[in-house]
Structure formats: C-alpha cells, structure tokens
Symmetry: C2
C-alpha cells in the first residue's frame, strides 16, 4: 500500500505540472474492486482455454490446407533423410531429381474465420533439377537441406545471415537463401525454429513470470527495470509458471519502461511484454507459449494509428508471408485495450497531442477495414472507421500530457476497472 500512496501523491503533484485536471481520476475504484474484475476475466479465459482449440482437422480442412508443426531435432533429421532417400529412388527409377515445393503465394493463402488466422492452401509446384529455369533453385534447396541437417546434428542455432554466408558463391544474395529456407520449412512440414534457424532477439519481458532459458531459471519480477531479453530460440524456453491475472502486450519501449519502473505488475499481477515495435518471430513465439501454457488473457496497448492495429493483428492472426506457420506464431483472442481512437475524445487528449494522419496512414487504415480479421470484430471496425473518419492518430506517450504516470496510475487501472477492451 505504501507504493500505492506514494503513487497517489505523485499523480496529485502531476496536477501542478498540467493545466488540465486529470480526466477520470475521481472515477477510480479501490484496487481490490479492479482486482476482482481481473480475476473474473482470468478465470473465464482459463475455462475457455480448456475447451480444445480448433484445428484444420476439426474443420476437415487438413486435406486442402497445409501447416507446419514444431518437431524434435530427431524428426527433422528423419524427414531430411527420408526426403533424400526418395530423391535417390526417383533418380534410380529414371524419373530424375525434383522437389515438390508448397506454394507460398498470396493466391495460395486463406483466412479461416473459425481459426481466426491465415493458413496456406495445398497448391504445390515441382522444382526439377533438369530444367534451366529451376536448376539453381534446386541446388540451393539441396544445399540448405544439408546445412539444416548439420545444424540438427550439432543442435546449435544460427541466424539466416549465418546460413547465407556458408555459401555466398551459390546463394549470391541473402533473399535467395531466405526464400528457400521458408520453402524447406514447408517441404519438411516443420517450423523454422525446429530447423534451429532463429531471428535476432528484440523483445523484453518483465513481471509475474518465472521460466527457464537454456536451463537457467529466470524470475521476471527480479529483473529490475531493464527486464529479461526474450531468448531467440523458443525451444530452449520452458517451465513457465506465473501468478499473473493477465498479459499486457505493449507496442512501444517507452510505455514498457514506465510500467516496469512503476512495477505496475505488483499492483495488478501481470506479465508485461514488448517487441519494441514490429513483432519479431521470437517475441511472437514467446507470447503464444505464455498464452498457451499459462492460459492468461492478453490485453494489448498500442498506438492509436493503423500500424498499432496492424501490429496487434500480426500477433493475433499472423503475417501473410509466414502463413504456413500461423498455427505456431499466432496468439488467439488478443483484446484491444487501447489506445483506441474513441479514447482520444473520451480521455480528453488535447488537440496538440493528436497527430494528423498522412495519406498513407489513411490508405493503410482503409485497407485494414477490408481485412477479414478486422471485419470479424465489429468493435474493431467501429474504432478503425472512427480513426479513418477523424483522420487523427495518437501515440501511447500522448497520455504524458496529464503527467508522466497517468498511464500507470489512471488510464490503465480505469481501463481494467471498466473492462474496456474489444
């Protein structure tokens, strides 16, 4: 409670810093009331999660759609060996050397409302060695397969850049080895992390979470303000446990720092995670793992602009260019907590703290309105339409106009109290 009282006096002294009074501060109920609200939400999520999540098979789409799965290294090795064996047989049988490569083109993608994510359909193309147009790509595919096989034998992780440099002469530029790496992922039917190829880490996590990183137990309540860097290789993350009531997904660094310094997670038990902008694969995998193992509700705090919603959607429904892996990369049922376009007036954000949307912003907003994952959520459509109509956007930081701690002391608590998420 000491913390709380200090916090209060902070917000009060904020009044001096701003001519505006703090909107809605007086509406805040005691934390106990807000906490019971959160317990209800958390309980609801847990029971919902127990009901088996739908799969392509449940929708009898498994024959017409394709998905990759996480595989142990041994299975990856087996699949590569089997593939090599079949290729040899085909050659011996006089049918030559060719790969059957699943198409990752947009025309082969499908948004499945029941799953609320984008999946890959089953179209494939043949990549024969005996053809001038495909001989290089076939060679690259074979090379990548052998490199992946070595990685799995050693069980070490590398980046796409490392992979590229192992044979620059053949790959010529990284876009070629990257593209084929995704092909190989589809051919073998396993995720890129199963191939031990990882992306550079970017995200950080802090709050009521304990997990193991490569065998080291990490307590994220004891990570100071900096927090714990999210490991690049999810397969070495495990033993997750938590007494949090929800996961707070934050778009930006600055907001994360504010909440970490105020130890917001001690006032309202939660796990705070951010990818510092565009979601990277490591953070998306980490968020999904938390959601699946801890069965916690996920509330998103993003800028009130089209990109904020786009980022939310990447976490939720996946990105198009990795749709073949959407099952493993996406976190279902993320709630849009704020900053929502309707918050701008509701919280009396001063005109000077709002930014005019550029033509590009407006176009992106309109495009989003056409996306299935937005359409399926009437609340989101309403908010997004309001944004495009008002042509105004605002960053999370805009709340600082009411004092630096308005976010952690008033805005978020009130949002939680009012269950004001979509």
């Amino acid at each position: 409670m000491g913390k709380r009282r200090r916090a209060d006096s902070d917000s009060d002294s904020d009044d001096d810093t701003t001519t505006t009074r703090l909107p809605f501060k007086n509406r805040l109920k005691p934390d106990s009331v807000i906490l019971s609200t959160l317990k209800t939400l958390s309980a609801a999520t847990k029971s919902a999660s127990t009901s088996k999540t739908l799969t392509l098979t449940d929708l009898s789409l498994s024959s017409t759609c394709r998905e990759v799965t996480d595989l142990p290294l041994s299975s990856v090795q087996n699949r590569i060996l089997t593939l090599a064996l079949n290729l040899t047989k085909s050659i011996l049988a006089g049918n030559g050397f060719s790969f059957s490569v699943p198409s990752r083109a947009a025309t082969n993608q499908l948004y499945v409302p029941e799953l609320d994510r984008i999946v890959l359909k089953d179209k494939s193309s043949v990549r024969p060695y005996a053809s001038v147009s495909t001989v290089r790509k076939t060679t690259i595919t074979t090379r990548i397969l052998s490199l992946i096989h070595q990685l799995s034998l050693k069980n070490i992780h590398v980046t796409k850049r490392d992979l590229f440099y192992t044979d620059v002469k053949l790959f010529q530029d990284q876009t070629q080895s990257d593209a084929v790496l995704d092909d190989v992922s589809c051919i073998l039917g396993c995720t890129r992390s199963s191939l031990n190829v990882v992306a550079a880490e970017k995200g950080v996590v802090v709050g009521r979470l304990v997990f193991s990183d490569n065998g080291d137990m990490i307590d994220c309540t004891k990570m100071g303000i900096g927090g714990k860097a999210i490991p690049p290789n999810i397969d070495r993350v495990g033993d997750m446990s938590s007494d949090a009531l929800f996961i707070l997904l934050v778009e930006k660094d600055a907001a994360y720092m504010r909440l970490a310094e105020d130890r917001f997670y001690n006032r309202f038990p939660c796990i705070i995670v951010t990818a510092k902008g565009q979601p990277d694969v490591a953070t998306r995998l980490f968020l999904r793992k938390m959601k699946m193992e801890l069965k916690l509700p996920v509330l998103a705090l993003v800028d009130s602009d089209p990109y904020g919603l786009k980022i939310l959607s990447v976490y939720g429904c996946g990105s198009k260019n990795m749709s073949y892996d959407s099952a493993n990369l996406t976190t279902p049922d993320i709630k849009w907590l704020g900053i929502r376009p309707s918050d701008l007036d509701k919280y009396k954000i001063p005109e000077q703290c709002r930014l005019p949307m550029t033509e590009q912003d407006i176009k992106t907003g309109k495009d989003l309105l056409e996306e299935d994952f937005v359409k399926k959520n009437p609340g989101w459509v309403e908010e997004l339409s309001l944004m495009v109509k008002s042509k105004q956007k605002a960053e999370i930081q805009a709340l600082s106009t009411f004092g630096f701690q308005y976010l952690s002391e008033v805005y978020l608590p009130l949002k939680l109290q009012q269950q004001d998420w979509l």
Copy 2:
C-alpha cells in the same frame, strides 16, 4: 572440459560443411596457454587503471573547457533552485530575464589527445526573454527546467518523448524540446541521466558479471542465451562484481547470440555486451561503468567496414553532439580485436564473402582517416587505409563460411592467443 571436447568435434564436422579447410585451427594452443595470456592483459589493465585517469583540471583546461558530471537528485534540485533565484534577482535588479547557454556547436568542440576524447570549450551565448528571436526558446528552457525539477522530486525516469508530450503546444515538435534538454544539461552542468531523462534500452549483456538492477541482483551467467537487457537508467545499476578477464564488446546481434549459445564466457572468462548496432546511451554508460569499476580490458569485435570503426570510436571517444558529456559516456582504451581489414586475407575469407565498398563507404572511411582519434593510433590508420585501398568490407558473419562456430572455436581464441588487438 566436456564442453571443450564437444566444441572440438563440432569444428571438425564443420570441415565437411565447407570445401575450405579451417584456416589456422592447427595453430591453436591449449586453452591454459591462452588463459595465461589473458591474465597478463587483465593484470596490466588493472595496474594501469590504478594510476589516476587524467582530467581537464590536470591539463589545466578546466577554465577553458566545459564538462558535465553525474549529480545526485538533491544537487540537481539545488542547482535549479539557485538558477531560479538568480533569475529573480536579475529581474528585480532591472537586468531582465535571460539564460547563459553553453554553445554546443562544432566550432566550440575540441579533441583533447591526452584525454583521447572530444570535449566542449567554454563559449556561451545569452538567451534573453526580452528578444523576439529568443523569447520562445527562453520559455521552452524555463518549462524544461520546471519539468526536470518535478522529475527529480518524484525520482521517476522518463523518455525525451514523454517530455515532449507534456507540452506539445509550446514545444511544437520534439527536436525543439530535445535540443533544449541538452542545453539544460549544460546549463546545470550535469549529465542527462542525472536529469532522470533516459533513452530507450537496446543493449544486452551476458557472461561473468553480477550486478544489481534497481535492487534486484542479476547473475549474467544465469541469463540463458537471451542475456539480460541493459537497464535504461544507469543510476539504478550497482554492486558490479566479476571474475572475468576481459570485456568483449560485440557490434552485432548475431555474433552475440553465437557466443552466448556457445557460452564462450565459460571457456574464456569474459563479459559479452552488445548494443545491437549503433551504441545507445544506456549501453555506453553501462560499458563505462563496467570498465571503471571492474578495471577490465575491453576488446571490440565489429564488422570490417567504416561503420564498425565509427561505432568503436563512439564507445571510445564519444559522439560530437554529446561532447559536453564525453567524460561520462566514453570508455577509454578500447582495443580493436577484429574483424580488421588485414584479417580478410590473413584468415583467407573467400572473395564471395567480401562485399565491395560503396562510394559512401569509401568517403566515410576517408573522413575517418582525418579524425584525431584515428590518427593517434597508427595501427588503426594502417588498417583503415588498407580498407579504403582494397575497397573491400566484410561482416563478422563472413566467418561462418568456415562453419557456424569458427568465430567462437577458432577465430576469437587465436586472436586472444596471439594478443592480436590494436
């Protein structure tokens, strides 16, 4: 040793992955030999560090040069109050309201070879309220001073962005509040971190280091592969202890991951730190604190291109636009370990793994050759000249051409064994 043996077999199997044999692997002596080399280096650094580091006063430059220092919050408050008092007196005395603002222009900057860093000279300009040209800036300066005063009373940290949003109407755009923030830093003679204004965190650290982050003890050998995110506010970092023999400063993420996964710091006791590209203030402050408190040698692993050396120089001598704070932001005596232009031939990096320098690269390289901090190190001049002459650059990742672990298993150990740093 088990680790070591596994590592060996790894590198051997690397031979299969590349047509090239592993250059110099056979030259590696037992780790014990390399370790004794490192102990000598570490001991030398410790004794050197005991000799007091030069200051402007020692060079009797304190009257003609200006530097800011880290101040406790109470002192910051006092300086602001004193300033306000003097302003009031000046107004009452009929001399009006004006600030004396140190000039941060390039013409007011000076590279001091004895200190090996850029410092600010003592030129100042008057910023009167009673002048159309400066009235806005004087108002902004006053506003920032009052905001900083509030931060110091609450002892919370905020970002420049937060600061901007507290009064968008006045500041109009962030460049204006940012610029004045630096002015205020110079006016008060204290560092930006003393003002509790922090930059977004970017860096990570792993290895033989224990420190406290806001009261939580962090053991960086128990941070898995992800490592510990470097805290944005250095003033909450303390209690550093370590049994490392050196600090390995890495430019890029991918190389950091490789070394973290191979637990390089267990084979050769060290602390591995990276800012993932351009050095941010938080990482620079953290590196300096490690160097100063642990008295360890710092070895830098950067790309072999002009930007690699530029990054090294920012850590070592500071950036021009923050020269007034170079004393606190810079880490003296950083050694250039690699990847050095001469390494490209020495380590037989295949032609395809080298990249041609662009016109811009070459220009940047030539400009660097004119910089004092490069000139004062003949070895650096030689290497940089070679780069500009050969017009070739290479990334750290280029070593992957000899196998993914060539960096940690051969290149770095040999560099250390041969004391091959400049």
